[in-house]
């Protein structure tokens, strides 16, 4: 069966976004610092249609994280825009423009029903209102032989972690402090949700910690 894989950048003090997340600043104050290691990589820039960039120890880690993904699940906060019901006249279309970098079906957990959003390049957002297990089932079916990516945000990730549904977790630990913001592991108690460390990679500006189900 296809695995559920989760990849997230986290500060040394446990934050995955800074304080004051908003439409204008979805990563919160200082949150961009969690992603600088990725922004300078050629493999990351290529996803977003940009040339140039570095090749370093992070490159195979990022390539691995992108490999063999057939569908994505994400929470409403990650899809973004605004809380509450969709704006019927001009519903939020995601952060990623007309041709999002997924190129496969994406299932968005939400309390508010909405028709699927079909964009260019193979990305379709399907809005799931009957819970995380349903979203995961639909994503697995869409992925076929391939794996499912859990894209976040923190709230959705915690739900899947707490339910023991995450098969692989890559934490990109960034050696910086944010001091406040949104923590990944708040409220998960004292277990690592059935995951154990399997591999560590040290790279410029980041330490990749891979965990997998026992």
């Amino acid at each position: 069966m296809s695995r559920l894989r989760f990849n997230i950048s986290m500060s040394l003090d446990g934050f995955i976004a800074g304080p004051g997340q908003s439409m204008e600043n979805p990563l919160g104050l200082g949150g961009l610092r969690l992603h600088e290691w990725a922004f300078r990589l050629a493999v990351f820039r290529a996803i977003h249609g940009l040339e140039g960039g570095d090749v370093n120890e992070s490159t195979p880690v990022v390539e691995e994280s992108l490999h063999n993904i057939g569908a994505t699940v994400m929470g409403r906060n990650m899809f973004g825009g605004h809380p509450g019901p969709w704006d019927a006249g001009n519903p939020w279309g995601g952060w990623w423009g007309d041709n999002p970098p997924f190129h496969h079906p994406v299932f968005v957990l939400t309390h508010y029903a909405r028709e699927p959003l079909v964009l260019e390049g193979g990305t379709t957002f399907t809005f799931v209102t009957d819970g995380m297990e349903s979203a995961l089932d639909q994503a697995r079916q869409a992925a076929g032989e391939k794996d499912v990516s859990l894209a976040g945000g923190a709230n959705a990730a915690r739900q899947f972690l707490a339910a023991g549904r995450v098969d692989e977790m890559e934490i990109n630990l960034v050696p910086t402090l944010l001091g406040s913001g949104e923590r990944l592991f708040d409220g998960l108690g004292d277990s690592l949700c059935g995951l154990e460390p399997v591999r560590t990679v040290t790279a410029p500006g980041v330490i990749h910690l891979k965990f997998a189900r026992r």
Copy 2:
């Protein structure tokens, strides 16, 4: 000049002690899990007069942390016992028995004056009531050409970190969650106190992250 070096074990969610720290359970609920990687090492057992144990990737890291230390500074909570004034008739003598594993001068930050406590094996606890800079000065003088170890606890460590006094920091990151307890980095804001990562070692049950002053 001798450097101030700090070595601490921390959970993936940022805790260095579990909840409910007490005289009976100084590491808090679950806090022992942060030290299991060390307890099974021969180099750690030898410090405490025990035979046997493992030799693995952590061994040179621990040996390095013990090497060239001439004095230690610690906070009152780390020295332990009880808050408030010392019990004049039966003052707390530390967690470590008659022959503590330091074997050099130790300077304890406290609000309550007390005569030095001279124990076996070269360990003398000196109680410093005029602040962290004074404690560090005295420790540096006692250490001579050697370095000073910052032993904790969290509160004292944060003071030295915030003041930019820590020259080296080794975080032993343990891939487990504690969920609650005492965090190392609470209230330090969003800077790493002038430190940057210099080396990573992956070992059984722990990932050693070394930071040093730029």
